[in-house]
Structure formats: C-alpha cells, structure tokens
Symmetry: C2
Subunit: 363 residues, 2 copies
C-alpha cells in the first residue's frame, strides 16, 4: 500500500462521493464540491496514477472514475475513519429492539429487520447455536403403535423433534420408562459423550439414544441453515439494479438455498466485524456484492452470525458501526437471557460490549 498522502486523500474522496452519488466522479467535481486545493488538471494526473495502481477504474473514456474492489478495500482498511454510531442512531435502534418479545426466533427476525432498515441494504441473521449442544431432557410421545415423537430439549432451551419408528408396537408406559432412564443417564451430555457412554441400556433404549445423538450431531454440524433475511427491497431499489438481469442475479443469491452457502458464515472471526468486497468472495455470483459480517453471542458460547448484503457501492463506515452495534445488542440480549455471559448493566442501555473489537477487519 504505497499511496502518497495526497493520493490517499483523493481516493477517499472518490469513494465517498461515488458511494453517495452512484455516478462516476470526475476530476473537477472533486475540486468543486470537496475543498480540494488543487486544480482539476493535477487531480487528473493523480487519478491516472491511482488507476495505474488499480484503485479506481474507468467505465469508458470520458466518464468519471469508479472505485475498484481494491480501492474499496484500501478505503475500508486504512482510509475511512471508523467512528462510532451517533447517539441518536443508536437510540433509534434500541427503541426498535424494545418491541422484542421473549422468543429467540423473534429476536433474530427483529435483528434482521432493524439492521436492514438501518443500513438500507439487505440483512441476514442466522439463528444462534452453541458450539457443542448439551442434552437437557428427552421426551417420547407415542403417536401410533410403532411410532413416537421424540422431543429433545437442549441447553439454552433449544428444541429438536423427530418422529421415531420402533421395530415393534410400544405403549406409552414403556416410552416413559425409556425416557426416565435416558434422562438419568445422559442429562448434560454432549453428542460425543452419549456415543462414548458405557451405560447399560436395552436395545430399544439404544435405538432412541442413537437417534438423539444423530439429531444432536446434525444440530452441531449444521446450524447456520436457519437464517432470517430482510430488506432485499432496499437493495433492489438502488440504481445499480436498473436492469432486470441484475435483479435476477440478486434473486438467485438471495434464494434461501444459496444464501448460507454464499455468505462465508463459517470462516468468521471470533469477534469483530469482517468485510468482504466484490470479487474477494469465492463465489462468482457475489462478484458485485459486498458483505459486512459479524459474529454475535456470548464469548465461546451460544452465538450466530449477522451480515449485511449490498452492492459494493455501500456506506462502509456506517454499515460497519451498525453491524457492530446491533451484534452487540443482540449479544447482550442473549447473554442476559441465558444468564451465563454476565454482562453488566441492562441490555441496550450501556454502550455495547464492542469497544475492544473496534477496527478489526479482515484480509
């Protein structure tokens, strides 16, 4: 990153002007609108250099300059000032969160909605999960002769269900007996511990225990599948989506199936906000989009991911602060609800617990 002071300042101006106006920015738009104390000719020279180095590009001769992915990256990394969200913006968000009910699923949905509205882009929030789920309780409810519904309560009040088929007819009393025995034997266990356990069990009990273990393992492995999406409309109304084929492209990205694949939820830093810009994504389909993503949740415990999706032409500073803030809020809500993270103060009243993650960005 060998940018002279002046060139850096120009790049910064180009980015913020282009983000605001969505129009390629020309040399004397810069000197006029922003107080650049240089002539347009000088600016042009500098722009030519910036283009040579790959920070900006030309849609065609005689159009202004547009930041390239590299330009945005440099801006995010070094140029922009990573200031905190203004108080009233925070207040607005907090206010919206006060409508939250007690259902965890509702929180996720609400977070996505609030985030999408605040940054005027699309937002995705995955359901929270623990790194390794632990069994709290099993229930078996008979449905038919040879079928029962097994309900698994995991720690943190997560619920799983599946229908189980038995090789022989079985009545509710026996189901209850099995349940009691298994609850006694496995309470607090993880999937692995159930598998390794040496407890004496009948064949039927093993049948159930194996199913439980499978379900818990699946829950540990997957987890990012459930995700709430909001604000696609925001993205579609942006000027870059004037042509219908772009719209189709976005829709493919957004289609539930792909979403969790395209957004790199997995390779997500333990804390801090990560930004991925345009072609930095592995997927071709994401070439025109940027993603601002953060983990939320209690440290090392239950948590999920939260992301903003929009065109590369995005208000990065505001978006990053907003994601950080909303992730902080949701984390506090989770922590105070599950009562394990021991976050001081009331949720949403103090500053979010993000002071230390400030400015951590990826790549």
């Amino acid at each position: 990153m060998s940018l002279s002071e002046r060139r850096a300042r120009l790049l910064s101006l180009i980015v913020s002007e282009f983000v605001d106006s969505a129009v390629p920015v020309g040399s004397d738009a810069l000197v006029r609108k922003h107080g650049v104390r240089l002539s347009s000719a000088t600016v042009r020279n500098e722009m030519a250099k910036l283009e040579e180095e790959g920070y900006i590009s030309h849609p065609h001769t005689s159009a202004g300059r547009v930041p390239s992915d590299k330009g945005y990256r440099c801006y995010v990394e070094a140029l922009m000032e990573d200031r905190d969200l203004p108080w009233d913006a925070k207040q607005t968000i907090r206010h919206q969160f006060h409508q939250a009910g007690r259902e965890e699923d509702e929180w996720i949905q609400l977070s996505a909605a609030v985030l999408a509205r605040a940054v005027e882009n699309a937002a995705v929030v995955t359901a929270p999960r623990t790194r390794e789920s632990r069994l709290k309780r099993i229930e078996l409810i008979g449905i038919q002769d040879t079928e029962a519904l097994v309900v698994i309560v995991l720690q943190q009040a997560r619920l799983k269900q599946q229908i189980l088929i038995f090789p022989e007819p079985i009545e509710q009393e026996r189901l209850t007996a099995i349940t009691n025995h298994l609850n006694e034997a496995f309470a607090g266990f993880s999937a692995g511990e159930i598998g390794r356990s040496q407890v004496q069990l009948t064949q039927l009990e093993w049948h159930v225990a194996n199913a439980v273990r499978d379900i818990m393992e699946a829950s540990d492995r997957g987890g990012y599948d459930e995700a709430h999406l909001d604000g696609v409309r925001n993205v579609l109304t942006k000027p870059e989506f004037a042509s219908p084929d772009k719209v189709l492209n976005l829709l493919d990205v957004v289609e539930q199936r792909n979403l969790t694949k395209l957004i790199p939820f997995r390779e997500l830093a333990a804390e801090g906000v990560t930004v991925m810009i345009g072609a930095e994504h592995e997927e071709d389909a994401m070439r025109d989009y940027s993603v601002v993503i953060s983990r939320y949740g209690t440290p090392g415990g239950i948590g999920g991911a939260m992301a903003v999706l929009g065109p590369t032409r995005m208000h990065y500073p505001e978006t990053i602060s907003t994601v950080r803030f909303v992730a902080g809020l949701l984390s506090e809500m989770l922590a105070s609800h599950y009562g394990e993270g021991s976050v001081p103060g009331e949720p949403g009243d103090g500053p979010p617990a993000d002071g230390d993650t400030r400015g951590k960005k990826r790549k």
Copy 2:
C-alpha cells in the same frame, strides 16, 4: 354469458394463443395459425363485439387483442377443457415426491418446490394444521429460577413452545408435579375445553394452563402464517416483468409478511381448486396476478392450503390440474401418515383422490 358459439371459440383461441406467445394476438394470426375457417375481416368484426362485451381489450389502436380478466374468467369457467394431467407429468411429480423424508416440514417445502417447477410459476404451501387442535401432552423444563420452557405437544405431533415466567422461584420437582397434574386433567382437551374446565388447580397450575390455552388458541386462529414459497424466479423471468418496477411490485407481494395476507387462504373452499384472476383479488397489489389455490389434507381434519402465483397470463388448465394433483398427493401422504383418513392404497401409486372435485371453481 351470452356468447355465440363462434365468439366463444374465438375467445378461447385468443386466450390460449396469448398465453403461449405473450404477444397481443391479431385477427389474421388467428386465421393463419389456427384453423379458423373465416376471413380475418370477419374475425375482426367478432373481436370488436368481444371487446364491446369486455372479454378482450386493446393495448392501443393497431395492436392485437389481449384477454381481460373477464375474458380469462370466462375461459376458465366455461371454455377450457379441464382435462387430467397426462400420465408422464404425473409420473415426474410422483418421482420427485419419493425423495420426501419423514419430516412434515420437509413435505411442505418439497411440495412448493415441485409445484413451482411443474407449473413454471411461484408456489406457496402453508403448513398443515387442524381445525381445532387438541392437547396431547405438556412438558415443563426449568431454565432459570423463575423461568421454564413449556413444550406443548398437540395431536398430530405438532409442537409448540414458549418460555414461561413464574412469580416465584420454582424447582424441577414442582414443575414435574404440575405437568403430571395438568396432563392428567387436560389430555385430549381443546383450548376451549381447557378454558371451561372446572378442575381444581393451584394458582401456579392455572398460570401454566392459561399459557397453554393461549398458545393453543393462537395456533388455531393463525396457522397460515408459516408458508413455504418457491419459484419466484420463474415468475420474474416472464416477459411481463421486463421493467424493474414490476419486479419491485412482485417482490412486495412475495415478501413473507404480505404473502399470507394477499392470498385468500381463509376463504378457501372445502375442496376443489379455486382460481382468482387479476382484479378479482381484494388487494390492489395483486391486480396483475392470478392465483390457483386448493386445500389439501384429510377431510375435515388436518390440512393446509396450496397455491400457485403467477401473472394473469397463465396456463390455467395445466396449472389447475397440477395443483389438484399435487394437493391430492400431499393429502394422501398426510392421511397415510396420520392414519386417520383411511385412504386406500399406497401414497402416490393410485390415482389421487380428486375425481369428485374436478371442475369446481370459484366465482
């Protein structure tokens, strides 16, 4: 409906030609492409009459004719031949259904996907529900001092959960006691019956019972909220969506929140397929769309709704047959799974149980 034989035939041709080509159809396109044994001049005269009566309309002078909502309605009601789906189409659909697992939710999702693909439009399938849910079992699982997760199992293996707050700290043993008592008192009850019940209960037990009743009532009232949507892409690629504002309109319609409001799931006939065309919808937003909708499920018992959403220019006969067929398949799967409807034969192997609903359409 005072249409001469000939005029009806012409209208029918106009509709099917326009549905295929998406281009306004002119008088001699009809005589040339379809074996109309009349001169284009005569056809023009007839068209003028049809237009007077409101069955077709003119985008502008010197364009061909386009069916109006009334024209489509007449076509659906009287003109089209409501033939059954060809064997191989059925076979393709059955084949896709064989991938279905045991999860009810999966079925819904799969149905939407299969339906959307088959009719090349968007499809919505709501989760099934019973008319009046009945309690099968309650479980209480302590989470914190004063909080517990109440898990309610309803008949047909439907699960509801909510976090419940108690006015005082309470341990698992007391929770279990409450559970046992309530299960004994209320097993098999509907929400109303719980409310009217005269059983002697402690204050805490009432606390729980009320919560359970509320949840069950909410489940009975709502129910169509959960819906799977698939195939929006199909709709967007249709030529009527060339302009971006149309796309936005569709997206608003499709946004999860609105969907269940805009599609008249509630006023749905007990059986048979219902068609709503364009401005027949109450909502303005739906003015350009048609919906082909059907109930599925066991007669009078558990069931949901299944709908196809597309532009008014839609292949009505095929869509109607397909909806009917897929609804029939899903109904069979539900019936054989819950074993109450006693449908003979294996699911998907016999003809679907739709012979009697043929041709029932609305308005």
